[in-house]
Symmetry: C2
């Protein structure tokens, strides 16, 4: 199966089974917007919850929730008004507006590392030299200019009260640093996370669920004393290996990652901040838990001209996707004191921390994820064809539906018995779906393709001896067990304390 | 304590303890925006989770997540572009812009029922007749005009691609009806809920956490066949009493609610749709569970000219707040087929359901809440002064921190023992906070004011016999119990299977 074919099949499945779909289809759609359906919303929330489990709980990181619309002043201070822009060109013939760097990459084979280095004049020069034309109609292109990729609005009835849609949730944290410092009892280090919608007014997004104009960002800002940058959690990750592509290797045109332990990466100075290395190691494990093996992950260091304006050192965590190749799923920016310093300058308010008589601006490292893109990543890595059918081998804790409950036939009291079991499981907190329509094989297939790990079938024997069969999504094996033990067994299974084979007596085909 | 004093104390507490605060204070703030801090975010999420428990689980209601920014077409179809506006007037002297209806209410004692009936000319007439002046500088006011209270933006690089910030999450559900109908397996009735940020560009919001420009909306759209409007859940609520103020009573100037059972309300035609009555009864119980007694709740029916443009019948659930009086916390609109019909007209796409050969547009009832406002409501009803100190008597399942863990003194191995217990509780899923700073009395006080239900103190005896004391937030009583039993006892307590007195041996003062 080709990468693009797999991507299409996943998107077809996603639409058909209500994982996600392009928004506002009845009005012809609008690129860059997707709607998460019932199963997709649960999956997305579970990924976000897993993020909390990995990153926030071990360090008692504080979670906050601030607004998506912010006054312009904040993004002037943060540097976004100046830097958050992309080069755009208009076709003189069809009037379409396109991204210059993407045109150069697609039509002239330039890399993004090359295009990102160029200013407007240089971009125009390259376009002319390489004969780049409109991707839609082949028309001659006009002069490139910058397009600011923040959504703009007006707050309240005064036309000068400019506001922006946030392109990142980080600023909502930085501007509240004084209150958060109080909540952290004025002790460093501490971290603050925000999970919420973010907006990027992309010029012409064309990558379905991968590049969105509205998406959910998970920004974690971790504040520490630059004079005391030691990571207290390092021993938990120091032997973890990271696959790094360093900036200097990229400059030489190398793309193969080197494999180093966290300890080595720090000793050799490949990663500048210990806390940054800690979060990178955590992220590798997070993605492994989401179903992406180590060898399909890498960390790309950004070159000076590729980095965001606020970053002293920056890595992208990339995951290999069959359709889109190596794709960023998270970023690790060492933001130093940049943001707090700028807000201190622009607001006139003291943003310093103090410790033993010393006043200083804390440094910040930031891991940042988009949960929508992770939904796609999880689906791609879970997607598997088996005998003409689709299995979604979701990690069991991510499955939107835990258990299907099926009466073998729709009569003779089997539906009632099955419904009782469904209600019992629901009251125990399981997402249990009752399904009696169609053949039992069709019901299994429906459950398999949305990744439901277990199916319980109620048959005539169930009425006699209170036993049922449990079917495994991945192996299609079945075990028989007593209803009285079901709840305990299922809790153990979903907490990874038991495997499928431990759930009962294997049934011979 | 005066209502306004209590409101100020709650807001002071909210700021100091990180529940919520006005956003962007370092830039002078901006009315209509609040930031939820670490404890507030947990409380808000718990309220949202409780909403799911009450409304969505019993009916297997589908949850989706769609965008905050939508193309203009959708709000043209929905009628918002035409109707979502407020009368505004500019002061000729200080140039401030103010809401005409609020000025008439504040300066001329008119009711909102009266002002909502008036068009622009009539509003101007009333202003002149009653000598209404600028609330800020006393200046003469200009001519009233309408201000559209949706945030406006442009999507992508084309200036004609108008977009709006959604003032409600409902439209994100209606436009996706076809896909959702499929997900509901083409069977009515079914419900879809969305919990997410919404935006209303208020002219001059001045009620702190009560009237926000950005807030979290919880919109539930429940679709049913108008020829088969029977509520299958009615027997679960039919004896529940509702305190209603009917439209016709309001017209006679009456404000006292009548008390009727759900059954009576339907029989007498006070509530038109059975499903609407069902959700109203559920909401009464929901608010009781959040801490608001029955007698502090009422349902106000809206008059024809007060109703939203899409509603055939509409109620507001109001809660009595000491500072702001009767305040809307949720709305119940019987939207009939209005929205689906309009989207069908505007998009040309068939939005009908079918059943036994019949094609028809489903009807919709909608309960709609704002979770931010509920946070304030919960705080006001939980707030209590006791002996010069503050108790936040939060329902135990809403408390952001379940348990405080305190070593009696900060030496002799007590902190280590206490930390072990904290870790054990955390691994069992409890939000347990370790605190060793300050006197034990101060630590209790700190926990009481954020509503932590239980406190565990480790003393010298704990080292000898593995017993600890548990302290109750509300009664300040203490019981002594064995560490080995702690986890089971606490699970039972937080699941309301045990009361405080059941947790151990009462300690005499």
């Amino acid at each position: 199966m080709q990468g693009s074919e797999k991507a299409e099949r996943i998107q077809e499945l996603a639409k058909r089974r209500g994982l996600f779909w392009p928004s506002y289809e009845i009005y012809g759609g609008l690129s860059g917007f997707v709607t998460f359906g019932p199963l997709g919303t649960v999956l997305k929330h579970k990924i976000e919850e897993k993020f909390r489990e990995f990153y926030t709980r071990p360090l008692s990181i504080l979670e906050i929730e601030s607004s998506v619309i912010l006054p312009s002043k904040i993004f002037e201070a943060s540097g976004h008004v100046e830097h958050f822009k992309e080069p755009m060109v208009e076709c003189t013939k069809c009037k379409r507006k396109l991204r210059v760097d993407h045109l150069l990459e697609e039509q002239a084979g330039m890399s993004d590392t090359e295009t990102e280095k160029l200013n407007l004049a240089e971009l125009q020069n390259e376009m002319e030299k390489r004969g780049v034309r409109c991707a839609e109609c082949g028309g001659v292109l006009g002069k490139p200019k910058y397009f600011m990729t923040m959504f703009t609005t007006t707050i309240g009835p005064y036309s000068d009260a400019l506001g922006y849609g946030r392109p990142e949730a980080a600023q909502g944290i930085f501007v509240e640093f004084r209150r958060l410092w109080e909540q952290a009892r004025e002790r460093l280090p501490f971290g603050v996370v925000q999970i919420g919608h973010a907006l990027r007014n992309e010029i012409s997004p064309r990558q379905g669920p991968i590049r969105l104009r509205e998406f959910t960002i998970m920004d974690l800002e971790f504040f520490f004393d630059p004079n005391d940058p030691e990571c207290t959690q390092l021993e938990k990750v120091e032997t973890e290996t990271l696959r790094l592509v360093r900036a200097e290797a990229k400059l030489r045109g190398e793309k193969e990652p080197i494999e180093v332990t966290v300890k080595e990466a720090l000793q050799k100075g490949y990663v500048k901040a210990e806390w940054q290395a800690y979060f990178m190691a955590l992220s590798k494990r997070f993605l492994v838990d989401l179903g992406v093996p180590d060898e399909k992950q890498r960390f790309m260091e950004k070159l000076d001209w590729e980095k965001a304006h606020y970053a002293a050192q920056s890595f992208d965590q990339e995951i290999y996707l069959e359709r889109w190749g190596w794709t960023e799923v998270s970023g690790y920016a060492y933001r130093t004191d940049f943001d707090l310093k700028r807000h201190m300058e622009f607001s006139g308010v003291d943003m310093r921390a103090f410790k033993e008589g010393r006043r200083f601006i804390p440094h910040v490292v930031e891991p940042s994820f988009g949960s929508d893109r992770l939904v796609y990543v999880v689906l791609e890595y879970a997607y598997q064809a088996k005998k003409d059918r689709v299995l979604l081998r979701l990690p069991r804790e991510l499955a939107p539906i835990h258990i299907g409950v099926y009466p073998l036939v729709g009569k003779d009291g089997l539906p009632e018995k099955a419904w009782q079991i469904r209600q019992m499981l629901a009251s125990e907190g399981f997402a249990a779906e009752y399904d009696e329509s169609g053949s039992i094989g069709r019901r299994y297939a429906r459950a398999d393709e949305v990744g439901t790990p277990l199916g319980i079938t109620i048959d005539y024997d169930s009425l006699k001896d209170d036993t049922i069969t449990i079917r495994d999504r991945d192996s299609w094996k079945q075990v028989r067990t007593h209803i009285g033990q079901l709840v305990d067994l299922l809790h153990a299974y979903f907490n990874y304390k038991k495997e499928f084979e431990d759930l009962g007596q294997l049934v011979r085909d």
